[in-house]
Amino acid sequence: MREIMKMVVVLSLISGLSGAVLAWLKDATKNRIEEQVLTYVQGPALEQVFPPHDNNPITDRKRFEVPGAPGESVTIFPALKDGKLAGYAMETYGQGYGGDIGVIVGFDAGKDALTGIGVTTMKETPGLGTNVAKHGFTTQFAGHPLEKLELKSKGGSIDAVSGASYSSTGAITAVQKAVALRDKLKDEIGKTWQ
């Protein structure tokens, strides 16, 4: 009996101790890891959508509460040029064929237009749906005004990737979400970075 007691005590002591240490370590590295993931997963797509800038959008990022939707928040990446806001970007998601498609949407700070989009994560069919991340599809968004962001088949001005209407729709849904968010946050963003 004593032995079993000892076994249980030692085991739970060790497990508890390592659990506590790991929880602390997890907390300590949380910010670093988030930044690293942003740099290496979202980073390449971010660089693709931004106008010329001289800051690091990832370290300057800021979380915003979405007005009218308590508990929801979105991270905005600003692109600053000579200390002034040149553009900003956010990541949104749309339902594609294989799962969510993550899209970074960049906005021009000066006028109501997109600076471009970049796809971050997706699980689309290789060679077909993955083409939404390719040049031909994404370049349509560079400099596009905020209206008529819809597939041509639905009265918009965007050409779908042939054979991948689900994936195209998913990417566009994400862009539309970003535009809606931008409308709500526009003033606040303007106040944060001049």
Binding site: E3, V10, L11, K26, T29, R32
Partner: protein, 226 residues
């Protein structure tokens, strides 16, 4: 001091983990596409191995024999999770490169094998020396294999081009078959070398490296448990 050195140095040649003891093969094969990856993996293993040896040696007297293995696993796995977190925070590209083999350090026979064979029977300092020595030997082996494969497979070492201009990369070396063949030929070379050494000294023939799981000691460990 000399005993510490002895424990440390045996991992460098006489009991060189992947080549002599034929331990921890999976990462040895999988992550040695480049010298950099081999080095990174090796450093992670040094960290886990040294600390796990130290911790296990520290608590060896209070652990009841029956839950010994479970305790070893908890300690080793916690250290692996710590390495995972640290790598994500400070070396994310390497973490991506090594992929699933970072969590798999926990089942690397070296860790549990050294815990059972050495750390659970020896005081703290020799255990640290043993872990450090084995870890350094493992790292050196991985880096060497990585450099070799990178040299022929990409024509570079640590990313720096070293081959002549018209060199056509021998991609076989960086594919899976190349990993196996390269390690096999290296082992054969080491056997050849030891045999030659033994013959020169006039001693008995050296025993070639065999992998019967014998050196990993997990089987014995598992049987004793029941």
């Amino acid at each position: 001091m000399s005993t510490l050195w002895k424990e440390f140095s045996k991992g460098l040649w006489n009991e060189l983990p992947p080549f002599r003891l034929v331990l921890g093969l999976c990462p040895t094969l999988a992550v040695t596409k480049t010298a950099n990856n081999g080095l990174g993996m090796g450093l992670a293993v040094i960290f886990v191995l040294t600390l796990s040896n130290m911790l296990i040696s520290m608590v060896r007297k209070i652990i009841p024999a029956k839950v010994r293995i479970a305790c070893f696993i908890v300690i080793a796995a916690s250290l692996v999770v710590a390495v995972e977190l640290l790598m994500q925070a400070y070396a994310y590209p390497l973490y991506q490169q090594l992929g699933i083999f970072v969590p798999l350090i926990v089942v690397n026979c070296i860790i549990l094998g050294r815990a059972e064979a050495f750390a659970s029977r020896n005081p703290v300092l020799p255990s640290i020396a043993d872990g450090l020595g084995m870890g350094v030997g493992y790292t050196a082996s991985l880096t060497f294999l990585g450099a070799l494969r990178e040299l022929f497979g990409y024509g570079t070492v640590f990313g720096a081009p070293v081959m002549w201009g018209s060199f056509k990369p021998f991609s076989f070396m960086i594919e899976a078959p190349g990993a196996f063949v390269c390690l096999g030929v290296l082992l054969a070379g080491m056997n050849f070398f030891s045999a030659w050494q033994a013959r020169r000294k006039g001693g008995p023939d050296a025993v070639p490296a065999v992998s019967d799981c014998g050196s990993c000691g997990m089987c014995d460990m598992a049987r004793k448990r029941g």
